[in-house]
Amino acid sequence: MRELTIAWMYHDIMDLYGDKGNIIVFKKRCEDRGIKCNVVNVGIDEPYDFKNCDILFIGGGADKEQGVMYDDLAGRKESIVAAMNDGMLVLLICGGYQLFGKYYEDADGNKLEGLGIFDYYTVSDGKTRSIGNLVVEATLNGETIKVVGFENHGGKTYNVSKPFGKVLYGNGNEANGYEGYFDGRTLGTYMHGPLLPKNVLIADYFISEALKRHGDDGVLSQLNDELSIKARDYMIAKCLKNK
């Protein structure tokens, strides 16, 4: 049986904006195709070796609660980096995205160190917040796609070497026209919504790549995505009309 494993980190803390919907989507799209999808909840102080993980997932959390899990995450850096070098996929939303960069600087100039796995960094001026629908044009598997979500973040993320896509509506990383980070294995993005229900091509990309790690051809059967596509196109059209 085809099988993959997702480590859902801090499922009880980084769960503010319905990001658990992404896990629901991974599970359902695997199960509908007869793929076994193991979801392991990795909480604070719970030992876990990322060697066994195909997809690491972190959602967004409340500021206070993000502070609570930071030390735990930092202690796992070695295991995470080793697994990433071994081809583990990573999906990071909002706070999770910021934490994998160099640092987060708040309005008073205090720097919270990030894991430093990527070179981007985030700075908050404490005044402006990017809140609203977000539409992005991205490239996935050589194909140009439109992605829709909802952003709600106080920090702006700079120095992103490989942005996920071009912003068609909304703010994204630093209101410079780009959103997120994507290098083929790791996707970091500000998109809640949650991200995956209306953007199933991204979900399938992760599932397919995760299967390929186990010598599988990664070919996925077609599911009936009529409703998802309709919901996505409806929101994209609504946003672009308001531009």
């Binding site: 803390i13 769960d15 904006y17 658990k20 206070k64 709600n152 809640h192 919504g193 229900p197």
Partner: protein, 437 residues
């Protein structure tokens, strides 16, 4: 400036009444002329503010009813205009030109974000806080911000706090209010309490030391009996409820039995808040009983309609995961085949971010008595998609138009339960009225 503002406010109220319009516009005009208007008024001795996330309107309306039935003249924003300008509009109707507010009690429902602005000008002697749930994150920010704002409001407060002792974030307010007299209300463990929760929860960390708090049991969402070491959650509940039967609407408070018009624990909590206020005002049990038993909030709170096809329809407001979960639990209580309508809008007042529907446990509707789910509202497709990802096996029918939505119910020979969020509620009510007998 004060007198000018009053006169203009009263005139604008009168003119708007002539064209059958009300609302908070006069209040807005008055605050433009004199932003300190509320500071100048002479208030009744008793001022009660009711705030929190869910149940504010119900607590306020029921308290109004009980205090009025006990013989007091109560000035109250019953229609829920709960921002500062709404309070001004209300007071314009109930004051003399010299600024004396008529009545024995001023009872105000206050939007939790408006608490600081109201308390700049009005000093209550009772503040009631029912709960704090995550709600409209893009509009209100994280719940932590709201709790901090209200902590700031009560720093120098020396009146009475009436708090839900089963909500850790509400109890935090007592720690910030050193000068206040605090009364807690809460329900004992009952057959529906659980030891672990999978529902989205807030306030997981001890406000004193930052470590995770422990629960003996959960009632729903993060409402339950909690504590941490010897420094948080250790107090007696002054108004202690015990559930006799949710399905029969029966519970006791400090030994006295009450009959609720509702069949849901969250509704008992609303009533318990009100009973606590009533007892602090020394209202007799007779008045409290008769007021509660005949209470109907309507306005989309478990509101009943008789559809044209002769079937029953119940409509309930739910605008956040906690409210939604409680509605869903209520729906599956009955074993009758039933159709569910879910209405989701994303206008500014709703919050444009609808991610929270993934925090609500729509999975509850799977393998239940619910035979079809019909969705409506500006985000009808997202709600339908949510049901699909919940693994719901029945028919999912997305319909954008409200009248077609209700017509669909009329074409089925089944009872209906509709849950609608904030701005979609009145549109749903209007369509249901058109589609009812």
């Amino acid at each position: 400036m004060y007198l000018l503002a009053t006169i203009i406010g009263k005139i604008s109220k009168f003119l708007l009444k002539l064209i059958h319009r009300g609302g908070s516009l006069p209040g807005e005009i008055v605050l433009r002329i004199n932003k300190d208007f509320l500071k100048h008024l002479k208030y009744p001795k008793d001022i009660i503010l009711v705030t929190g996330t869910n149940g504010k309107s119900t607590v306020t309306n029921l308290t109004y009813r009980i205090l009025s039935n006990s013989g007091k003249k109560v000035i109250c924003n019953l229609a829920g205009n709960n921002l500062k300008m709404g309070a001004v509009s209300l007071l314009l109707d109930n004051m003399s030109l010299t600024g004396k507010v008529h009545g024995d009690v001023l009872l105000l429902e206050v939007d939790e974000l408006s608490m600081p602005r109201i308390m700049e000008d009005i000093t209550p002697n009772y503040i009631v806080i029912n709960n704090f749930f995550r709600d409209q994150l893009d509009r209100a920010g994280e719940m932590e911000n709201i709790v901090r704002k209200i902590e700031g409001c009560v720093k120098d407060y020396s009146g009475t706090l009436i708090l839900n002792g089963d909500d850790p974030s509400v109890v935090r307010i007592a720690l910030a209010a050193n000068g206040a007299k605090v009364y807690y209300y809460g329900f004992e463990e009952y057959e529906g309490s659980v030891k672990q929760t999978t529902e989205a929860s807030e306030g997981r960390f001890c406000p004193v030391c930052g470590k995770p708090i422990e629960y003996d049991y959960y009632q729903y969402s993060h409402i339950g009996r909690f504590h941490h070491d010897n420094h948080f959650g250790n107090y007696d509940i002054d108004y202690l409820g015990s559930v006799v039967s949710v399905n029969e609407g029966k519970y006791c408070v400090n030994g006295e039995q009450f009959n609720s018009p509702y069949r849901a624990l969250y509704a008992f909590y609303n009533e318990l808040a009100t009973i606590s206020i009533a007892k602090l005002f020394n209202v007799s049990y007779d008045v409290i009983h008769s007021s509660i038993e005949s209470f109907k909030m309507n306005n989309g709170r478990m509101e009943q309609y008789s559809l044209k096809n002769g079937k029953e329809c119940v409509l309930n407001l739910a605008k956040n995961p906690a409210g939604f979960n409680e509605s869903l639990k209520f729906i599956i209580q009955s074993n009758k085949p039933c159709v569910v309508g879910l209405v989701l809008n994303d206008l500014e007042a709703d919050g444009q971010d609808v991610s929270w529907i993934y925090d609500a446990q729509m999975e509850i509707l799977c393998n239940s008595n619910i035979e079809e789910v019909v969705t409506c509202g500006t985000r009808y497709l997202d709600m339908a998609l949510r049901m699909e990802y919940a693994g719901y096996q029945g028919k999912i029918v997305p319909i954008l138009d409200y009248d077609e939505f209700v017509a669909y119910f009329n074409a089925q020979a089944k009872d209906v339960f509709v849950v609608a969020n904030y701005t979609s509620l009145q549109l749903t009510r209007a369509a249901l009225k058109r589609g009812s007998l």
